[in-house]
Symmetry: C2
Subunit: 352 residues, 2 copies
């Protein structure tokens, strides 16, 4: 089917690039004796989760219970949920999930550990818990290896739980600091008789340096499957590796240097990630997507020699692919310029 | 039902505030002899569209065909779609809509007008078309009253179309410039024998000055139903008028001055609209939502005397309510601190 038959804006996923991106990362992991546990947040598609496992991933990562529930339904048997699960309702959902797949979670506080233990004290299988470490990102996580040890002991002592190791989502580019933090924590835990079975590191931007984090046993890249403008800027791939594009139509050319497309923040999101503009227009490298409202994107054509006309269709590499996946109920899988199939984004919008 | 029974993050809509906000705007419009044509993009809920009409609105505004299709299904009979509809597929959908509700559209180019005329040349009822005017916003629209006249003539001459008037979404705060632009265009059109029946003005921020745009016959406010942090900053209402909040849970307190909540950019969006931080935490006026990743919001508590604990629930007024509505499959209607009903956001995610 021709792409012309698609209504815009819509999301195109290049299957050949997806396959190449997945294989490249798995090959890297295999070559370095590292386990791969891809994050499904980028694609939110059961079929790609299954393909990641087929290629050698040990399991997948989901960021919310709702995502894990959808992915478990698809037949994936090993899911890591690196999140503090709190509250009766969520703990009951987690327990129900643990009854049907291998699931592990993270915790960075005694409060979280107490809640998990309460929910799993009478479970047939104990729940594996990894202690989350803030190795520089400044989000969740214990602040020091000593705190990691204290929480590891708390997990170890808690009925229904088993201490499985450490996890981090590191600060991008801070590979050495991340490696040093984790090495110190692992050494301390070993000294104290609690050697971590798993040390789970994350992120696509520093994936190609993952092996430098010597104590890490697994890596959780997400965006690597599609890549995006930000990842290209960070050197994680080339523009020609980007598998997700937004197809949009020029709906207005009010002035010589202004084009307006039917993709706004509801399609491209307001994420700039520090980049200039809201995406890269393929074929128009000098065009700048200057501003977005919900249903309009305003493109500055001042620097363009050729300028698109009303009705022309543009393919846009977004700044951040993961958030785009979350905005569309369906995506169209393509091979080259041919639409293969349009499928629902099964794990989209699973906010809780 | 208590709010404690809700899983977070979730969206709460305060019904009493909604009703007050709707009435206040309708009263203003009635007092000034202005027609109200609310934009449904903010709520995306059929029941509120119907309530807006019950209170006196002449119809509603939808921004995409997909939204209009959902709203038409709910029984609304008069819809304005201020968008350039282009391409065979969209034109066929528009024609199908016009067969069951009164629908009007905007156009800012001969290309759009030609397409519309082709689709409606053999229609039983001609399609009302408003010429979109860029009175300062810098998005779509003709650049001068002379261009507006030229397009009005093109609509007038096109089979299947009827020239219905002018529309603008003005630059915020530029009330005088907007009024002057439209007055000049109306005068020109009158002189040339094409008096506009409708002059449609838009936006919540300048709604209370809507009557100053003397030639406008109708106003299309959207966000007024919920208001948000941005609208409060612009003076469109008070914090206590804000009807949409995101309920989130503190999942981590890694340091003395950092709290992490389970609402990230998938719940609050990356829209800052020039504001500091990504929302206002009710009860913690000195807390700053400093950064968002998809599933985490990082709050800086440095300036707070009281600090929330892990497990505490926070209500957050987002920077931009409309984009939040688009992220959640369902919202919970509340009255005070009581959950009344959880309903699907029927027109959510209608990107095309």
């Amino acid at each position: 089917m021709s792409l012309d038959s698609l209504d815009t804006p819509c999301v195109l996923i290049d299957l050949d690039r997806v396959e190449a991106n997945l294989k490249r990362a798995q090959d890297y992991a295999d070559a370095h004796g590292l386990k791969l546990r891809p994050h499904i947040k980028t694609h939110k598609l059961p079929r790609f989760a299954l393909r990641q496992i087929e290629l050698g991933a040990v399991g997948v990562t989901c960021q919310k219970l709702g995502e894990a529930e959808v992915i478990a339904d698809s037949g994936v048997e090993d899911i890591f949920l690196p999140y503090n699960i709190l509250g009766e309702r969520k703990l009951a959902r987690l327990r129900a999930l643990a009854d049907r797949v291998r699931i592990s979670v993270s915790a960075d506080s005694k409060t979280t550990i107490d809640g998990l233990s309460g929910a799993f004290a009478d479970a047939a299988r104990p729940l594996p818990v990894l202690v989350e470490c803030d190795t520089g990102m400044g989000r969740c996580g214990v602040q020091t290896p000593q705190e990691a040890l204290a929480l590891a002991r708390a997990v170890y002592a808690a009925p229904g739980l088993v201490f499985a190791g450490l996890m981090t989502y590191p600060a991008i580019g801070e590979v050495e600091a991340n490696a040093a933090w984790l090495a110190a924590a692992v050494a301390l835990l070993k000294r104290e008789g609690l050697p971590p079975r798993v040390v789970s590191n994350g992120g696509t931007p520093d994936m190609e340096r993952a092996a430098e984090v010597a104590v890490a046993t697994e890596h959780r890249p997400g965006t690597y499957i599609y890549l995006d403008r930000y990842q290209v800027a960070k050197g994680a791939g080339a523009l020609d590796d980007c598998a997700l594009t937004v197809l949009a139509t020029v709906v207005s050319r009010p002035t010589e240097n202004r084009a307006v497309i039917d993709a706004g923040s509801k399609a491209l999101t307001s994420d700039t990630l520090g980049l200039d503009g809201f995406g890269l227009v393929l074929g128009y490298p000098d065009a700048v997507i200057r501003s977005l409202s919900e249903e309009h994107g305003v493109i500055d054509l001042s620097a363009c020699k050729q300028k698109p006309a009303i009705g022309d269709r543009l393919r846009i590499v977004p700044n951040h692919a993961c958030v785009v996946s979350n905005l569309f109920d369906k995506v169209t899988l393509v091979s080259g310029d041919r639409a293969v199939e349009t499928i629902p984004v099964a794990a989209r919008g699973r906010v809780d």
